[in-house]
């Protein structure tokens, strides 16, 4: 064991100092000076984000069945859901059906830690990641966004990128 370590040290021993490294270092910084810098000037130039960027969580209301799974799985309890039950009499007779109607769906982005567990657990694809990220406000209270705002963000969700050549098509059970 000890001899092995000594071998490693011997192979890594540097030669006599030549000063060549100093010149190389100057070359590296000069190369960067002559290259274009990578900075994007954000407010003027919008960032070119990938379509699946996780900017904010959007809600598609018509897909929501008020199952409360998202609210229960949320690690920091930032999802507020209120709903009531309505009974629908079918026009053609038969038993009355009860439906849950969403009254309030709000996410407090001051609490949200963007873990995405709600998006994962949603069984009916009502929650989405949107690449939108410019929703800074001056008051922390305003960071609780209601379902109307969350619905708006669903329109910023970009279509999924094209499948790669030869990839298996997705599509769940029917595929």
């Amino acid at each position: 064991m000890a001899s092995e370590e000594r071998d490693i040290v011997e192979t890594e021993r540097p030669g006599p100092p030549t000063g060549l490294g100093l010149v190389k270092g100057l070359g590296v910084t000069m190369k960067h000076l002559l290259r274009r810098s990578v900075t994007q000037q954000y407010p003027e130039v919008k960032p070119n984000l990938p379509p699946r960027s996780r900017g904010v969580i959007a809600l598609k209301q018509e897909n929501c069945t008020v199952c409360y799974k998202c609210a229960r799985e949320c690690p920091d309890w930032c999802i507020y859901i209120d709903a009531h039950k309505e009974t629908h009499e079918p026009a053609s007779g038969g038993r009355a059906r009860s439906v849950k109607v969403l009254d309030r769906f709000a996410i407090d982005y001051a609490l949200c830690m963007y873990c995405g567990i709600c998006v994962e657990v949603c069984p009916f694809d009502a929650l989405f990641w949107s690449p939108e990220f410019e929703y800074a406000v001056h008051d922390i209270q305003e960071l609780t966004h209601e379902k109307e705002k969350l619905e708006e963000w669903t329109y910023t969700v970009l279509p999924p990128p094209e499948l790669e050549e030869g990839a298996e098509p997705t599509g769940g059970e029917e595929g």
Binding site: T29, M30, H32, L33, S37, V38, T39, Q41
Partner: protein
């Protein structure tokens, strides 16, 4: 041209002795206030692009050209804090003691054989003497701040000056020996045929390295090593006093670049075949190029350790500089 050499333009325009002095002082002061801003802006931009950034882009609307003006306005508005335990007089005097030697130093820097404030016979001696006064200001700042980091920074600075003043003076001495004069203009005129950087390349390197160390610029910035001792002797300073300390640093870059171009790059002398371009532009270009080099070093090398710094000077630079003096002496006597 030669007949007028050694006579400042100002003296030919204004005849009154006192007016001449005031005019010269004003010109030197304005130069000291403007040139460091240009170098500071260059540092912002060059350092940024060497790190693949853009640097300031907004102040003044065009590539942040007014960034340092804006910084100056900010410094003026800031509260002037003096620590409760500090010695207020020494604390307040220190920035002046650091800055004024660099202003005075520009008095003897020539921009052509007619554009200069003063042609002292002891020019280079005066310059080197002045440049080492500012370390007293650094010690004053460090001691009076009543802060251990300030004191450590100041003592490191003093130790660094001890180690690097010697190679600096020895390198300058061998130039003086070759030129046969101490006058800045005399040294420039002595380089009419070839620059001393060609006859004393090692001396030039020693001078540059020692100058960077004298200025406490990276990679020799242990006195203000921010990862260890916050900001050294400047730690407790705010507002205008802090601005003066920074101005002294950038003024120092300009000053040492000017001295190095006078000693080694032929000062205001144009290279052969390019004498159509006037002398002051050549001087400014050489000062700019050397300032760029000093900034380039900052972007490239990591900070040395304190013992590495001392070892480098005492075991390498000083023996080399002494050998240089010896060789120049032998050649001077033999030829």
């Amino acid at each position: 041209m030669i007949a007028q050499a050694g006579v400042s333009v100002i003296e030919r325009w204004i005849s009154n002795y006192w007016l001449v002095i005031v005019a010269k002082a004003a010109v030197v002061l304005v130069f000291f206030l403007v040139a460091p801003l240009l170098v500071g802006y260059m540092e912002h931009k060059v350092l940024a692009h060497m790190q693949a950034r853009l640097g300031p882009m907004y102040a003044g609307r065009f590539h942040g050209w007014a960034q340092l003006v804006a910084d100056g306005v900010k410094f003026v508005q800031k509260e002037d804090v003096i620590p409760a335990a500090a010695d207020p007089w020494v604390f307040s005097l220190a920035p002046g003691v650091v800055m004024i030697p660099y202003i005075v130093l520009f008095v003897v820097v020539p921009f052509s054989d007619q554009i200069f404030a003063l042609n002292l016979d002891v020019g280079i001696f005066f310059v080197l003497a002045m440049s080492s006064v500012s370390v007293i200001g650094v010690l004053m700042a460090g001691w009076s701040s009543a802060n251990k980091f300030s004191l450590m920074g100041a003592l490191r600075s003093a130790g660094q000056l001890m180690a690097y003043e010697l190679p600096l003076v020895l390198a300058a001495a061998s130039v003086v020996m070759q030129a046969g004069t101490l006058s800045m203009i005399g040294i420039v005129e002595a380089q009419e045929r070839y620059w001393f950087a060609l006859s004393q390349p090692i001396g030039f390197l020693i001078f540059l390295v020692a100058a960077v160390a004298e200025l406490s610029r990276p990679p020799f910035d242990m006195p203000i090593a921010d990862s260890e001792i916050i900001f050294g002797h400047i730690t407790e300073y705010t507002g205008l006093k802090f601005a003066f300390m920074l101005l002294a640093e950038y003024g120092g870059i300009v000053a040492f670049s000017a001295i190095a171009s006078v000693l080694y790059l032929g000062g205001y002398q144009a290279p052969p075949l390019l004498s159509a371009i006037p002398a002051p532009i050549w001087m400014a270009a050489k000062v700019g190029a050397l300032s760029f080099f000093i900034i380039w070093l900052r972007a490239t090398y990591p900070r040395l350790r304190e013992d590495q710094l001392q070892r480098f000077s005492w075991l390498l630079l000083i023996p080399l500089a002494l050998a240089q003096v010896l060789v120049v002496g032998i050649v001077k006597v033999a030829v």
